[in-house]
Symmetry: C2
Subunit: 349 residues, 2 copies
DNA sequence: TCGACAAGATTAATCGTTTAATCACGGTAA
DNA sequence: TTACCGTGATTAAACGATTAATCTTGTCGA
């Protein structure tokens, strides 16, 4: 029933004895109005603390000024950063962010999108789940994943980030490096690993350890057997995420292998705790704020360009944002034993 | 201009040659309708893929069926879990969740709330920032913090969680424990520490290490000097968050102190990576799903009980949800040297 | 046979904004 | 004097759903 949030255009109009249309025009700056009356109306609106009814506006204009944000799954520790950056960029542009969680399942991702559509969002931002093909949602859509994802709108330049890591390790003198990934079907992870590989100098060795494969064999949460890698000559572990870097770091520390004195470790994403651990983790940070801004800009452009039937993924001009290396304490030159030849490959008798 | 999201009541009505009111009644189950016609209308609606316009409904009924979620700041690693649980509980009840980030500042928390109100949310869920006094927002409000926060609606029973930790450590044989907190003005942290202390047996020792105070003196990110605590006889470190537990764990490991062989470490919140590190972290988990459900229930009750002017914080019957201890690998009986008296207090010459 | 009543459907008002179309009016040119 | 024009404001029609009030029929009892 009664649920007036506050003053309406009508109230302002009758208080000033003008018509609602006039008030509407005065506040929106459209139509032809005398400066004097415009000012009187604006003052009155401020005085009464007028805020337009989004519902009425949405009904009339057909735009809700709300965007939907679909996140892959909550396990993603980047969620907070992304959500925050997007909310900020959106609210600056006068848009709200409605969240929808896909609970990690691809089927639910579709449900999540439908829920958003039923709520009349003007557009959707999505960080897709591994290997998902995005369906046409009948609304402008911005995809944040990796540059090699088809239809990606904007993302960090994961490949270049990988190069940064490898260049850093190589310049320290590392030549035998283990790359730690989780799932080879992730575009992001593949880009990062590809970037790292691309900067491996001739004669360098880089093997990939895919955690999910390892766990399929050895069981969930099983040790990664990094010590054996160290014994085989690896001097650095470069993970595609701080999460995995942390797993590696603690496993090494627990085995009594000093980091970075004996081996180096690097991560990706510069998560909240990365600087807090001992030793502080060397990582690669993505410019979430820029990414969010670009994604929102591209989306809003698609939305605000007249034909409201616009559908499908949109594209930003700058579609990939450089990452930056954050060097901290887990990286150092490789350990060199007194005897230069430290069991590099074959077992010394 | 033109922006029909899809079929409207009107279209269904004219397709079936009945009035819109009839269609509305048929779909909502109100009014007096023949079963036959109701079915025909429902079928037609399904056939056309009708979804009601939220904007129109909101305008007419005065309820947007959207709730606002205000989170303290993004650094909170619990954000994902909370957001997910809340979104799930809300969407089950037919509500959407609009997020607002306060970027860690108290002033912005107010801004965030205002943005939500301007978007006509029906109610607000808030996880308040340290020591914030919640202003009256003119809308039903559910506060999720700690039971000792005034006006709290529902939360985990942090005190009881603390008791769980201490009981566990004590049963293992620990008597000299360092409690690690961040900021003494946090209700949550105080509850957890209070709970731990309350289960300390006679003769036991528990000192609190407040990280923020420590950093004010020694600088941000400075080592916590835990080794000295160990030398002074401490056999366990109980942190109020997995974040701090991780910090302690890596610092100890880095110093060559084996966990749990030499000292035990516990955390709180059971964050995503807690089970993945080596050794896996013993922690206390809160039942986020129940908390979210209770908070939403309380909020919806306030919203749906007729007087839409209802304002201020609401209260759930069950206002505190028990936590559960997750014992993993960082806790074990205290280290006992051959000589039973291991430099407990005084220095042996 | 008439009135009352219930069931089943319709009418019309309303929510608050936007916006195209219209109107009133004073000034200017013919 | 009259036609015309521009300025500044108003009118009124949407947008789509909800809902109280009303209308139409058919049935049943008196």
């Amino acid at each position: 029933m009664a649920s007036r949030s506050g003053p309406t255009l009508n109230m302002i109009a009758s208080a000033l004895d003008v018509s609602v249309a006039t008030v509407s025009n005065a506040l929106s700056g459209k139509g032809r109005l005398s400066a004097e009356l415009t000012k009187r109306i604006r003052d009155k609106a401020d005085e009464l603390g007028y805020t337009p009814s989004q519902a009425a506006r949405a009904l009339r204009t057909g735009r809700s000024r709300v965007l939907g944000l679909v996140l892959p799954d909550i396990a993603n520790p980047l969620f907070p950063q992304i959500a925050q950056a997007i909310e900020y960029a959106a609210s600056t542009a006068g848009y709200g962010i409605l969240i929808a969680d896909s609970r990690g399942s691809v089927a639910m991702q579709t449900d999540a999108i439908n829920r958003l559509i039923e709520r009349d969002v003007d557009g959707i931002l999505i960080v897709p789940r591994l290997g998902t093909r995005i369906v046409d949602v009948g609304r402008p859509l911005a995809v944040i994943d990796s540059p090699s994802t088809p239809n990606s709108t904007v993302s960090a330049d994961h490949w270049q980030g990988g190069q940064l890591v490898m260049e850093h390790l190589v310049s320290l003198g590392h030549r035998h490096i283990v790359l730690i990934g989780n799932n080879p079907s992730s575009n992001v992870q593949n880009d990062r690993i590809g970037g790292m590989r691309s900067r491996l100098p001739p004669g360098g060795r880089a093997q990939v350890l895919w955690i999910e494969q390892h766990e399929d064999i050895c069981g969930k949460g099983a040790p990664l057997q990094l010590v054996e890698r160290v014994n085989a000559g690896a001097t650095a572990f470069a993970a595609v995420s701080d999460l995995h870097a942390l797993r590696a770091l603690t496993e090494l520390q627990n085995a009594g292998i000093p980091v970075p004195a004996r081996v180096s470790v690097t991560g990706f994403d510069d998560l909240a705790w990365s600087a807090m651990i001992t030793p502080a983790l060397t990582s690669v940070r993505m410019d979430v704020a820029s990414i969010a801004r670009l994604a929102i800009e591209a989306l809003l452009q698609a939305i605000e360009s007249d034909p409201p039937g616009t559908t499908g993924a949109v594209t930003a001009e700058t579609s990939s944002v450089p990452m930056t290396l954050v060097v901290r304490q887990t990286t150092a030159p490789p350990f060199v034993p007194i005897n230069n030849q430290n069991a590099p490959e074959g077992e010394p008798a």
